[in-house]
Amino acid sequence: MGSSSSSRNKIPNAQELMRQTGFSSAHLLRLHDRFESLDRDNRGYLSPDDFEALGGLAMNPIGGRIIEAFFSSGQDTVDFSSFVRILAHFRPTDRNRNKEGTQQELPSSRTRKLKFAFQLYDLDRDGKISREELLQVLRAMLGLQVTEEQLQSIAERAIQEADLDKDDAISFDEFKKSLEKMDIDTKMSVSFLK
């Protein structure tokens, strides 16, 4: 990486980002290159249509939601640090817990991964997955093969199983509890982001 020092200077707050997300500088550079290639008009930030230009995402049933996950609360631009922070969720969880207590703050920690997943369901960000939201997800992922009433049944059942305080919606804690047996670390990690 001959040009690494100069490239690193291109990335604002590189050290800060590395500390917060846990990415190595090599990774950060790679992601920066990717960011720049996505940013076709070279504006320094990404907008939804930049993401939509990726063909694969269009075919993805929840592509839209993922794109939305990058844009936090109403903004329609993503700068590099937000980009990296979101992607950092997918780093494999570091197993060596004997590091400093900042383990929990890393985006790649299990709780943060779950939070990300939760937000994929909870589009209106009210902190709860309502039946309607669950239905939408189901419809997106199962729509063609299953009839409407079956979808509703499934949604109903899923809520029944997870909803502990009987408020007919799944809060983040209930979500976390119902997925406690799942190996989130493997399921929500992409290896090259290590």
């Binding site: 990726l54 009433e149 493997t186």
Partner: protein, 812 residues
């Protein structure tokens, strides 16, 4: 027990005497008169012995499994071997020669294939392919390392004089090493099945044990050829040929298996009309794949494993449920049976003076090296692997992986196949193999469980999979693909999604029946399973609560699994159950929205509680039945039918109570009407887009009508219930009204009222509830009158739009 031993001895004597004195079992030339009965041992000898040994092995298993405390400490395989020792001892005592032993032919052709087919068929594919890299590394490189290291070390030790006067060439040592190196799938299954370690660990060991056959076959054949050729003839060309043959054997074997797997899948697509022997195809074709690979000198185990793995998904989808169960159970039976016989014979084969050659150095060193090199190999390879793995294998897992490198019958079979002309010390090798096998299976088997517990290895999670988990799982998969897209790299998940795409659109299209293809969704599958589980729970619950006779009776009818003859319901029920039978065979596996109904009913129940305790009781009673019923229903059609029946029972009991009430307000009929309508309304409540349910409604309605009039004690001909009523009429009475009218069933309907009602079906039907409500002392229903008309107008639109339920509930 004693008699068993005597019989056993008898048969043994029989067989050995048959070997020696043939003239006794006379040929027909010596007869002097007509034999009334003659003893024809020769006639049945072979099959009799085979069957007899199978029986003995199974009896041994029976004895062993009688006490669970023993089997939880000592694995069954070890006990079976000991049982074999005892048997061998008995035969030896009787014969002074070992007439029975595990021959390679019997083992490799008749005992091993089923075990491996079972392993392949029940293999968790996803887990396997996720870890395929690691498994392959261990299987190929690990086995080669084991073989080479063992052979070389032993040779070195011989050179160093540790083994006395032994003189075995290096090549022979390498040959011995190659047969000793392979981890045995049968032993692994036998030991690990009790221990329940976590999935990844199990699949690594098990997958390795299956895939290393490719390597073992090649190594064994190559070194066997080398031994035949002799040392000087081995040059680079031969070595290269050896390496090439590895690839050919391994991939060729897998390919053969794949082809047969696809063949099976295609066949099951067309076997709808011969469902009874459908399972046979799998066994026959599986076995043929094994034999074909063997014929082409490819890896037979790889072939049958891939055959099983490839076809499992498609045959489970294509075949009828019964056939799938048959295959599953038959395969397990064969596999388990084979395993039992293998271990028993492994024990018996030991008790044979002829083969025993003892060389302390050789045997002990072999044992030592086998263990040590296994540990070294596993740790080293895993260290390399962990740098590329997403989830590294932990230290304790590695320990168990090394310790779980059990040798078994395959090694013994290969050892017996050695040519004693080429290898003078064959017997020594056979003995050593046996001792290593015993050591690993018995000792390592016994200590495996304590070791696992002591090291606190992660155990297999008892997966109670929830819908949310499955759903989120799927979502994660999609998410990962998206992230890979965004970050612009082709990763694991991209490949997997591409494969899924290919598989869903091409392979499934060819290999799966169209009807099966539609049901191929995991979340849906979980939903279906959960529904079935609920259904089963309700059956047991209902049967437990003896007082709810309705529930129990209805369960006995609704339970599709047993087409039961309902006892107290005469013809009606006979019709019902027949139709149920018919319904269940026309397998409509897509369950309808029973759970949502349940929820709404529950809501309705909650609201009712606030109103009137009197109503409350009725409604609870009524609703709980509904709740069960809906859980069971597989289509709306059935719901109606069941409801009819329950209504009948209900009506009957009510009628008994009615006799004590002599109020002239109403007769029995309106409740019936209401009830019937309620059922229709129930159906309406369910958001159903299926128009065919309407048609079914009418049909079932007719039947119900017929039923009611049939059982009416007063014998009043009730034209209301004649089949010519169209469903719309029936639908016009809102359910809430119907339900609330239940209490009015306490009151007897006057004959006039009964007769009057049906005169002008459409009008009066609407009026009927009104009239009832005015007469009723029930103010509750009075309130609801204005809404009746509104409801009716709603109901006149066919089919009613789904979001009606909330309204209904509000009035209950």
């Amino acid at each position: 027990m004693n008699s068993a031993i005597w019989f056993f001895n008898f048969v043994v004597r029989l067989s050995e005497s048959s070997h020696s004195n043939e003239s006794q079992h006379g040929h027909s030339s010596n007869i002097t008169g007509i034999p009334i009965i003659s003893f024809k041992w020769h006639h049945v000898e072979t099959p009799y012995l085979v069957a007899f040994w199978v029986l003995v092995s199974f009896l041994g298993k029976l004895v062993i499994e009688a006490n669970h405390h023993v089997t939880s400490v000592i694995p069954e395989s070890a006990l079976l071997i000991c049982f074999g020792f005892i048997l061998g001892g008995m035969i030896w005592a009787a014969d002074k020669v070992q007439t029975f032993r595990l021959t390679p032919t019997v083992f490799f052709f008749y005992l091993l294939p089923q075990v491996i087919l079972d392993a392949g068929y029940h293999m968790p594919n996803k887990l396997f392919f996720t870890n395929l890299g690691g498994i392959l590394v261990h299987a190929v490189i690990g086995t080669c390392w084991n073989a080479a290291s063992l052979g070389l070390s032993l040779w070195g030790c011989q050179m160093g004089g540790a083994m006395g006067d032994l003189d075995i060439g290096l090549l022979q040592y390498l040959l011995f090493g190659s047969l000793m190196a392979a981890v045995d799938p049968v032993a692994v299954i036998a030991v690990f099945e009790q221990v329940h370690v976590n999935d990844v660990l199990f699949i690594m060991v098990f997958g390795e044990s299956l895939l290393n056959d490719g390597v073992t076959v090649v190594l064994f054949n190559v070194f066997d050829a080398f031994v035949s050729l002799g040392g000087p003839k081995i040059d680079a060309a031969e070595i290269i040929k050896g390496i090439v043959s590895f690839f050919v054997v391994a991939f060729g074997g897998s390919l053969v298996g794949l082809v047969f797997g696809l063949l099976i899948s295609l066949l099951t697509r067309c076997t709808k009309n011969i469902q009874i022997i459908e399972p046979g195809f799998i066994f026959v074709l599986g076995y043929l794949s094994y034999l074909t690979a063997e014929m082409l000198s490819l890896s037979a185990i790889l072939s049958i494993v891939f055959c099983g793995m490839c076809c499992q998904k498609y045959i489970n989808a294509n075949m009828d449920e019964n056939s799938v169960q048959t295959v599953r159970y038959a395969m397990k039976a064969f596999a388990n049976g084979s395993e039992t016989i293998i271990f028993v014979f492994l024990g018996i084969s030991a008790i044979d003076k002829v083969i025993w050659v003892w060389n302390t150095g050789f045997i002990l060193l072999t044992l030592l090296f086998v263990l040590v090199y296994r540990f070294i190999g596993v740790f080293f390879l895993t260290w390399i692997l962990n740098r590329y793995r997403l989830v590294p294998l932990e230290f304790v897992d590695q320990v168990i992986m090394s310790y779980g490198g059990l040798r078994g019958a395959v090694a013994y079979g290969l050892a017996v196949m050695l040519d004693e002309n080429k290898i003078k010390e064959k017997n020594l090798m056979v003995c050593t193999t046996l001792i290593v096998v015993y050591f690993t299976v018995i000792l390592q088997g016994i200590t495996m469980k304590p070791l696992v517990m002591w090291l606190k290895v992660k155990r297999a999670a008892v997966t109670e999979v929830s819908l949310l988990e499955k759903l989120t799982n799927k979502m994660f998969n999609h998410t990962l693909v998206a992230i890979e897209d965004i970050s612009g790299q082709i990763g694991h998940n991209y490949m997997r999604s591409k494969w899924k795409y290919f598989e869903e659109n091409w392979m499934s299209w060819i290999l799966m029946k169209p009807s099966a293809r539609k049901k191929q969704d995991q979340v849906f599958d979980v939903f279906h399973q959960l529904n079935l589980k609920d259904a089963m729970e309700y059956v047991t619950e209902g049967e437990r609560r003896g007082s709810l006779e309705f529930v129990r009776n209805e369960n006995s009818i609704i339970d599709f699994k047993k087409k039961s003859e309902s006892e107290s319901f005469d013809i009606n029920n006979a019709n019902m159950s027949n139709d149920h039978g018919a319904m269940s065979t026309t397998r409509d596996p897509i369950p309808s929205v029973s759970l949502e109904m349940h929820e709404q009913i529950m809501k309705a129940v909650r609201e009712a509680e606030a109103i009137n305790a009197h109503h409350l009781l009725d409604q609870h009673l009524y609703k709980s039945r509904k709740q069960h019923r809906h859980r069971f229903s597989r289509s709306h059609f059935d719901i109606n039918r069941d409801e009819k029946e329950v209504q009948e029972i209900f009506q009957r009991t009510m009628r008994n109570r009615l006799k004590s009430f002599t109020s002239a307000k109403m007769g029995v009929k309106p409740p019936k009407t209401i009830v019937k309508h309620t059922q229709k309304e129930q159906q309406q409540k369910m958001p159903n887009g299926k128009s065919m349910d309407k048609a079914k409604t009418s049909y079932s309605g007719d039947e119900g009508l017929y039923d009611f009039s049939f059982v009416h004690p007063a014998g009043i001909e009730n034209p209301a219930f004649m089949p010519d009523l169209d469903p719309m009429d029936l639908l016009q009475i809102p359910p809430w009204l119907g339900e609330s009218e239940l209490d009015s069933s306490m009151v007897a309907l006057s004959h006039r009222a009964q007769v009057d009602l049906p005169r002008t079906p459409s009008n009066l039907r609407r009026l009927a509830p009104l009239r009832i409500s005015t007469r009723s002392t029930d103010s509750f229903t009075l309130e609801n009158i204005p809404d009746t008309q509104q409801m009716d107008s709603d109901q006149l639109q066919p089919p009613p739009p789904p979001p009606r339920p909330p309204r209904d509930d509000g009035y209950v």
